[in-house]
């Protein structure tokens, strides 16, 4: 079983798709339960995987089969510390997303099928060790997302979906080009990521261009300034569960791609361009935070805050890479970045779930349209408080650990950038508290005097994330132990 | 020719004329509804001819199926495919100058053939007359079982096909 654990993990959700398609269109309950059961099994497998995973810095649970022999394309899976957190997070978020989609009544069959397909694609991206396979899974995520936003989205869903699609497609094309360049420059021709990393010298001639191409592909997903404008639209229009997946996992694919592909294969280019990563990360943080403050729509606000928070990941990577030669413990920043990926997945997931909860009840997300909800929905307010304080980086909650490590790592390498970035934390507190004040505190808007409290199902989606947030906040070592060695090794590769 | 033969002959020709005459109305009437109703008479005439051929079951079946089934279908089709309130449904003929000679040639050829052929008719004494229902039943269930089953399947298929074709189309 261990030898095929990853394959099982990846394809578990897609097993449910034919089952769901066979179910009668009207039996919504059965479809949802099927989806929940299969994602639940996947989650259980992922937890088991994490339990037996120990970070050695090397790839584990490897599966390697020839796929298209002519082009030396392999079905090559494996995980290390960089991916393990995402491999855990993806089924978790997807599992919770199934429950968050319980209210979907339009085209239930298609919705869940697409969601499960998306799940498979994302899992594949995090497990693939063959560039071609990676690319295939990468593209698999694109289409379901497009439809999920475009069909089940809000009023401007078409615009948002197309914007998302175009941005991502441009990135994909660039990635494809770089991938082919790697393939033809490698000797023997291969898509194997580990092999490509070994042959990094072959790519130095066009390293900068390749890095920029890959970077754009990944930056669109992150999303890094100035490729970020699709995100607020996509988030705003997407249904709750899709926003959760989008923020929780899809954005991480960009950062993951940089870590998995750019860093080991293009060490030299990465090193020379790391300073720009830092700059863009800082721009993301500050720019995103400032933009967030101007938002009036709750989901848009959270979306922009995601942009701001993903900036920490970029900053962490940038400083770790640029500091790899000079600073002894550059890995701290990288740890922070990876942890921030995981934390942001949980926290933004919570935030979007919470936004969905209020949207389900009030049917709008206009921040100024609410007021005094704390009185009416204390439990909901408590969860929201937890989420926003975690997002603000309150010590003792997970957000702090990631951000703190990023800053700590960054400070030595690039002090001005760090100072500006730390100021982002102040802004974060500003916009979240402002939003909190406007929505939850103050006199109760009489329009929402009969708003119902968050229900059991919604709590069920929130509590696991909340527990993770608290646990990682007060005891982050287990998580760090899972990733640290791999990151150290990654930096060794970068330092070559 | 005995008296009864005369009567039979008269009746026969009445039926023959009925058949041909109504068939002519079918062919030449400019009103398709008239054609359809004339077809009723044609079928009746043919049923009568069957009676003369001592095929009583066939005669009844002819009326049941042709009149009760096919003709009603045709009438329905006519009424469904025309503006039904228009009483004078024109049914114009095209190129009769082309069709008429052809048909006449065919008819001439056939007549010539019928007249010229030396039909190996069985002797009239041997022409037995008895109820045919039972015999047809045995023939269908015995000798012609396979064609019968095939035709059943065909009928079923046609039924389903027709129902499929005629079902109301879903509005997109």
């Amino acid at each position: 079983m261990h030898s095929h654990l990853l394959t099982l993990l990846i394809f578990m959700p897609i097993l449910a798709v034919p089952l769901i398609l066979l179910l009668p269109r009207k039996s919504h309950g059965a479809i949802r339960i099927t989806a929940a059961v299969f994602t639940g099994i996947q989650l259980a497998l992922a937890i088991y995987l994490c339990a037996i995973f120990t970070d050695t810095g090397d790839f584990q649970f490897k599966e390697k089969y020839n796929w298209i022999e002519t082009f030396n394309i392999q079905y090559y899976l494996g995980i290390d510390g960089i991916s393990i957190l995402m491999v855990l997070l993806t089924p978790l978020i997807c599992f919770l997303a199934v429950f968050a989609s319980w209210g979907i009544n339009k085209g239930v069959k298609g919705y869940f099928s697409l969601m499960l397909l998306l799940n498979t694609g994302m899992m594949g991206v995090f497990c693939a060790l063959d560039f071609f396979l990676f690319y295939v899974f990468w593209e698999i995520t694109l289409l379901p997302m497009y439809f999920l936003i475009g069909i089940w989205g809000g009023p401007r869903k078409e615009y948002a979906a197309i914007k998302f699609f175009l941005y991502t497609l441009v990135g994909s094309v660039l990635m494809l080009l770089v991938m082919l360049a790697f393939y033809f420059k490698s000797d023997p021709h291969t898509f194997d990521l580990t092999e490509l990393a070994n042959q990094y010298k072959n790519f130095t001639s066009f390293g900068i261009i390749a890095f920029i191409g890959l970077y754009i592909a990944f930056a669109v997903k992150v999303p890094a300034f100035p490729f970020h404008t699709w995100l607020p639209d996509a988030h705003t229009e997407a249904p709750t569960a899709i926003s959760v997946i989008l923020a929780g996992i899809l954005l991480k694919m960009g950062v993951y791609g940089i870590l998995r592909i750019c860093l080991p294969i293009l060490p030299e280019a990465t090193r020379s361009l790391a300073i720009y990563l830092v700059i863009i990360g800082v721009i993301n943080i500050i720019y995103g935070a400032l933009c967030t403050m101007a938002q009036k729509d709750m989901k848009r606000l959270i979306a922009y805050s995601s942009i701001s928070h993903m900036g920490f990941c970029l900053l962490g990577i940038g400083v770790a890479v640029s500091g790899v030669a000079v600073v002894k413990d550059a890995v701290i920043g990288l740890n922070g970045a990876v942890l921030q990926m995981f934390n942001h997945g949980c926290i933004s997931g919570m935030l979007f779930l919470l936004a969905g909860v209020i949207y389900d009840r009030a049917h709008h997300r206009d921040i100024d349209g609410f007021g005094g909800l704390a009185n009416r929905m204390p439990l909901y307010t408590a969860m929201m408080t937890l989420a926003i304080f975690a997002s603000m980086g309150l010590p003792g909650l997970s957000g702090f650990v990631g951000e703190f490590l990023v800053f700590l790592g960054a400070f030595k390498v690039n002090m001005p950038a760090t100072v500006i970035a730390v100021f982002g934390v102040v802004l974060t507190a500003g916009y979240f508290l402002w939003m909190f004040r406007r929505m939850f505190l103050g006199p109760l808007n009489p329009k929402y005097a009969n708003l119902t409290e968050i229900n059991g199902r919604e709590m069920f989606t929130l509590v696991p994330l909340g527990l993770i947030v608290i646990f990682v906040g007060i005891y982050p070592m287990p998580v760090i132990n899972m990733v640290n060695n791999s990151l150290v090794r990654l930096l060794e590769l970068v330092a070559r | 020719m005995s008296n009864s033969e005369i009567i039979y002959t008269v009746i026969f020709y009445v039926f023959g004329l009925l058949t041909i005459g109504s068939a002519c109305i079918v062919a030449f009437s400019r009103n398709i509804l008239h054609s359809a109703f004339a077809l009723l008479l044609t079928f009746f005439g043919v049923a009568g001819l069957y009676v003369f051929l001592q095929a009583d079951f066939l005669a009844a079946a002819q009326v049941v199926i042709y009149v009760g089934g096919i003709l009603v279908l045709i009438l329905f089709a006519v009424m469904l495919t025309n503006k039904i309130t228009d009483i004078h449904m024109s049914n114009p003929a095209t190129k009769p100058w082309l069709a008429a000679p052809l048909v006449l040639i065919v008819f001439a050829g056939l007549t010539w053939l019928i007249v010229k052929t030396d039909w190996a008719v069985v002797e009239t004494a041997k022409l037995i007359s008895e109820p045919t229902v039972e015999k047809i039943g045995y023939a269908i269930m015995g000798k012609y079982l396979l064609p019968f089953e095939l035709i059943s399947v065909l009928l079923l298929g046609a039924l389903l096909g027709a129902a499929y074709l005629a079902r109301p189309k879903k509005k997109d």
Binding site: - | S2, N3, S4, I7, Y8, N31, L33, H34, F37, L40, D56, F57, A60, A61, V63, V64, V67, G68, G69, L71, V72, L75, F76, M79, I84, T85, I87, H88, P131, V133
Partner: protein, 365 residues
Amino acid sequence: MQELIIWIQKFVIETTGWGFLKTLPIELWYILFMFVFGGVVLGVVMFFAGVASYAERKVAGHIQSRMGPMRVGPHGLLQFMADGIKLVMKEDLIPAKADRFLFKAAPYVLFAGTLALFAAIPYNQLFGKPLAITNLNIGLLYVLAMSGFVVVSILMAGWASSNKWSLLGGMRSAAQIISYEVPVAVSFLAIIMIAGTMNMFDIVSMQEGGIWNWLIFRYPPFTCFVFLVYYVAAMAEVNRTPFDIPEAESELVAGFHTEYSGMRFAFFFMSEYANMLAVSAIATVLFWGGWHSVLPFSILPEPWVVLEGMGWFAGKTLFSVFLMMWLRWTLPRYRVDQLMKLCWKVLLPIAFANVIAIGIWIALT
């Protein structure tokens, strides 16, 4: 048949003493007989139609706690005469846009078709011979064929009226009759299986000797079901409530005969009652033992047993007619889809189930 004609021929020649009549071919006698008998049947049917219309109104009135016709004659007994005179005297209107020929032809065709049904029905037996216009050995098939004939004439009337209500009524009627012909045919099939013949006289003959020999009680309960299916379908075929969709006055004014008036309307009217009578007669023949008594023996002595038979036949038939009237004033009208559903989803499966069950029973015994 032949013997009956010969007997009549002999009787006529003997009583009149006109020997030359013998020279006429038997077929001519036959034709003459048919005309006479047909005339008798026509008269009876017309008379019956009148009486039935009166009876129907009386029954309706009493069921609704009213009196019904009371003015013309004692207890309104002559009402039907008055109606008939009125209808005959009434102006015969033809719509301007109507197809005149078909418009005129339709009631006659319909009436002819209905009347043709009576040709095959054996009313009684005379010296062991059937008293019928013709004793067809494909009698049941003939009955079916003739009821199909009715459809065409109804369509003719509906279309020729050049009135959309008439046309719709006609088309509904046609659809209904064609549909309900199927359960009727299948119930006939069950009878044919039991009797082994399509000859109606033979079928009646089988049922001699008491009520328990009637076909309705032959293979209980299947034959009862067969009867039920037949009876329901037959009611639908004659467009009687609860199956009077084609005439649904609240929707279609009066269906295919909306535009008719005067004598032509009278023909439609009569043909409905004639049809009722025919259907009832067929029910009597097929299920209720025809002219046979309830008891295994006849009450009246030999020559008068014919009268007794007539009485039984008429009684049973009229009871059936009364039953139809009774049902009419009991049940509301079906909707079109319910009607079709009843036919195809209820009657037909039951009829087939009956056929299969009876077939198995016959095979087993």
